[in-house]
């Protein structure tokens, strides 16, 4: 696969997605955690001086909510919008169209969501003042990137399996598996992305409470194991999506 071609797909996808609607959604994703953090800062009777409390709130708001919401909007419908818009046939008629467009759309979704997450993190850490700090900002940004890479791959995969009701399947999966199963203290939770992200947060920030909770829910893998599993999962899911899309007869248009 020609990496320059993938960049061209990303460039085209960014160009076509620069619409007022999408920019507004990006703005909402950025403003949502900022508004909540500001509200906590202004309204809380007990000043949250504890970095761990602020950090956990920020982690939940950004890598687990902002990233997932953004990716549900940008990664999940990557294929289904082309199929429903009857434009898939134009892409599928190109020599490398199917694979390149899938990877390009995946990276575009990561870019959109991760940029919103990083901007929101920067603003939130500034609002948090002394409770924030460069380390928390850096860790949340890296976790946002890993969250985007892994969740985007997951949603792209769901999108290549379910061309209809893609969003319903992706939201259901997220609620049941990523928000539900990830908290269950059983081996099954190791299959979730959020379990890995929480483990990394506790490990990199050296937070005792978070670490205890993580260890109670799951295991004691090192940070590198979590990172490797996340990257390997992302790669495997994207590769599986490519294979699935290459050998699938997608509806191209109304039969005539």
């Amino acid at each position: 696969m020609n990496p320059l071609l993938v960049l061209d797909v990303v460039r085209f996808e960014l160009r076509r997605s620069l619409s007022p609607g999408r920019i507004a959604i990006w703005g909402i994703l950025v403003l949502f955690p900022i508004a909540l953090v500001t509200a906590i800062r202004l309204l809380s009777n007990r000043a949250l001086e504890n970095t761990e409390d602020w950090g956990l709130a920020l982690y939940f708001l950004i890598p687990e909510v902002v990233c997932l919401l953004g990716l549900l909007l940008w990664a999940t419908p990557a294929v289904s919008t082309e199929v429903e818009g009857q434009t898939w046939i134009y892409l599928a008629m190109r020599r490398s169209g199917r694979n390149l467009v899938l990877v390009g759309k995946y990276l575009t979704a990561v870019l959109w969501s991760c940029s919103a997450a990083c901007v929101a993190t920067t603003a939130c850490v500034m609002i948090m003042g002394s409770a924030g700090g460069l380390k928390l900002w850096f860790v949340i940004c890296v976790l946002s990137l890993l969250s985007c890479l892994a969740h985007a791959a997951l949603y792209i995969m769901i999108g290549t399996i379910f061309f209809r009701r893609t969003m319903v399947v992706a939201v259901s999966y997220t609620l049941v598996v990523e928000y539900g199963l990830a908290f269950v203290p059983a081996i099954a939770n190791r299959l979730t992305i959020n379990y890995r992200l929480r483990g990394l947060l506790a490990d990199w920030m050296n937070w005792d409470t978070a670490r205890t909770v993580t260890e109670n829910i799951g295991g004691q893998e090192s940070a590198w194991v979590h990172v490797l599993v996340l990257l390997a999962t992302s790669t495997a899911l994207v590769a599986a999506s490519i294979l699935r899309l290459t050998w699938t007869e997608l509806p191209t248009q109304q039969e005539g």
Partner: protein, 311 residues
């Protein structure tokens, strides 16, 4: 160039293509058939978008489903509309060419040239959301042409074009055909195809009913039992003349005796005799409708031929 060997395509229990066998050399061909006849299924099989349930599809001696590199040699203008509202035709066509792994410089040059071919140079930098249906149709054709394919497949390419646009499109397709590009042109309007080629594939119900030149198809129709409908106040007065003829299979008087449906084994006999009968008896006949004037009737006739009902 194209070989189909007993190709069938099933969508669950629905048949999209039914036992298609045809071999086409390079050239221009029209695929004619009513809406829902299987034209698009055939196109999707030829372009590797669908895998045949049974049989073998071969384009340029390769299986289009297994060999996607083959798509570099094929250009497709689908029937469906395209709309990326905030992207210009130039950006979109360049992107489409680039996906064939051509260099950026070549992609831009090819896109510019193909948009010029379809008279879109003036508007090619405007967002596609501002285009009329005709302009979008030209843009679609430009993306099909841009990478200079050897085989150009067009599905209802005249959709949305005004008479001037249709004329220009016909001129362009004739020119491409003369320059050696093979054309496969699907339409449900016969005369659109006749302006570009005299070779047809007639499809109905997923079946290939006939193929060949217009004259060959006419001959098949002439040899096939078909129905002629006469309307007028005096149609009933033709019955005594027709009752004596051996080439008449059936007669049906309808619509308060103003419509006569005649089943014929050889319509040419009727064509020779009817003018004399009308003139001699001073009959008022308002309309004479043959299978030739009605595409559905043509297909019904061909379907009878396909079932082996011809004489």
């Amino acid at each position: 160039m194209i070989q189909l060997e007993q190709v069938s395509k099933l969508y669950g229990t629905v048949i999209g293509a039914n036992d298609l066998t045809v071999e086409l050399s390079p050239g221009a061909y029209g695929i004619v058939g009513p809406n829902g006849s299987g034209k698009t299924t055939l196109i999707n099989l030829l372009t590797g978008q669908l895998r045949p349930t049974l049989g073998k599809v071969s384009v340029f001696d390769q299986d289009p489903w297994r060999n996607r590199k083959l798509l570099r040699r094929i250009g497709l203008c689908p029937a469906t509309d395209v709309l990326y509202p905030n992207v210009s035709a130039y950006e979109w066509v360049t992107y489409q060419v680039r996906l064939h792994d051509l260099s950026q410089a070549d992609s831009k040059q090819f896109a510019t040239e193909s948009l010029a071919q379809v008279e879109m140079t003036e508007h090619m930098h405007r967002p596609m959301g501002e285009y009329s249906l005709g302009m979008r149709q030209r843009t679609k054709i430009a993306q099909a042409l841009a990478h200079r394919p050897e085989l150009l497949i067009l599905d209802e390419p005249y959709n949305g074009l005004d008479p001037v646009g249709r004329h220009q499109m016909t001129q362009l397709l004739v020119k491409l055909s003369q320059q050696g590009t093979s054309l496969l042109f699907a339409s449900h309007v016969l005369h659109e195809i006749e302006e570009i080629t005299s070779s047809f594939l007639l499809i109905h119900g997923g079946r290939l009913l006939a193929s060949g030149t217009a004259r060959e198809v006419e001959q098949i129709i002439a040899d096939t039992p078909q129905e002629v409908v006469l309307t007028g106040l005096d149609v009933a007065k033709l019955i005594p003349h027709l009752a004596d003829q051996t080439w008449v299979d059936s007669m049906q008087l309808l619509a308060e005796r103003t419509e006569l449906r005649i089943g014929l084994r050889d319509p040419s006999n009727l064509y020779h005799s009817i003018a004399d009968w009308i003139s001699k008896d001073h009959l008022q006949i308002d309309q004479f409708q043959t299978a030739d004037s009605n595409l559905t009737a043509v297909f019904e006739s061909l379907l009878r031929h396909h079932r082996g009902e011809s004489k």
